[in-house]
Subunit: 183 residues, 2 copies
DNA sequence: AGGCGCATGTAAGCCGTTACATGATTCC
DNA sequence: GGAATCATGTAACGGCTTACATGCGCCT
């Protein structure tokens, strides 16, 4: 019933009011957040959510040719969000472009393969640094110790990002050692 | 030019000949492989690849109302695959349904949140077991030590799966401790 | 004067999912 | 006899990407 994009938007709105534009901005850069969307998608999704009364909006002053709208979640919307996150185990359709590429690295000569892995390592390391910085920020906030506070969930998901990126960097280092051992 | 699905198919065909049906079967279960697709997509993609002469097929005996086709990669196809995997750093559009859900767990009471994390832990643990089993199998094959052999790439990507799932299980355990510490 | 950020929307096209359609062989 | 597996295709639909469209306010 509720699509994943709609759930993502409800999740952001549960943490505070937003305009369509500011939702689009948050979902462009995925640090500290784990879904992406374009503004064209977001505006139509917000209109659909409004029709089902899961969100409401007030018109505020702002730039642009059309009226600027500030969206808030309704109590029905909060219930829909809770139903979505507690929903049955997802099938999860696994799509990992990086691993797909590396799975065919045997078609390259080992120096080409090494270059691939080095690039991957750099991407993971820079993402790790971004997560660590944001985690330090959230961790310093005492609200992040309260399980009913949004900052608590931010802290736990960011910690997951840190752990997964650390594992990815270690994996790349191990692959580089494997490639150096057998040139 | 070459879509991701096309590259995935070329990657499988570079390792050996397949019918459309057997490609579909491989891509239904993602263990040891990191992309999924339905047969309806695969047949049209194979037709497109054939028109561009990146694959060819021979008609063989088999069941079914239409002729059974066995596909093989061409040298142009192998070159297209190499070009794809060596292509510039991907933007990677991050879509993680599990983390998206956990990011809103603060809207549930802590016991509901704990149930969510326990489910996630089980999913990661069973995936980890599957990866470990397949890795043990591949690891025993001496060909997996040769960087120009497909088994080498299988071993490295499976090892990545093991590391990432181990990290995910550790993360879930840590989250459960956090939730127990502050009920 | 020009560029950037704020702000909202529509439209075309591509990719992926689900359903429709057909039929042979093998196993229970 | 019926179910599962092998085997290939088309069609409808929905989600995501990219491009088109408009225009105000602020900074340089």
């Amino acid at each position: 019933m509720t699509s994943t994009l709609e759930a993502a938007l409800l999740g952001v709105l549960a943490r505070g009011e937003n305009t369509g534009y500011s939702l689009a901005r948050r979902m462009r850069r995925p640090v500290g957040y784990f879904w992406t969307a374009h503004h064209s998608q977001i505006y139509t999704a917000l209109a659909a959510l409004k029709q089902r009364e899961l969100v409401r909006h007030t018109v505020i002053d702002g730039a642009g040719p059309r009226p600027t709208k500030r969206y808030a979640i309704t109590s029905a919307g909060l219930e829909a969000l809770r139903a979505f996150i507690a929903d049955d185990p997802e099938p999860a359709p696994v799509r990992d472009l990086e691993t797909l590429r590396l799975w065919s690295m045997w078609t390259l000569d080992p120096s080409g393969a090494r270059a691939l892995v080095e690039q991957a390592r750099e991407r993971h390391a820079s993402r790790l640094a971004a997560y660590e910085e944001e985690l330090a920020h959230v961790d310093a906030d005492p609200a992040s110790r309260n399980p009913r506070d949004p900052q608590f969930a931010s802290r736990l998901t960011l910690a997951g990002g840190v752990l997964s990126r650390r594992a990815a960097v270690e994996w790349c280092d191990w692959m580089l050692a494997e490639l150096r051992a057998r040139p």
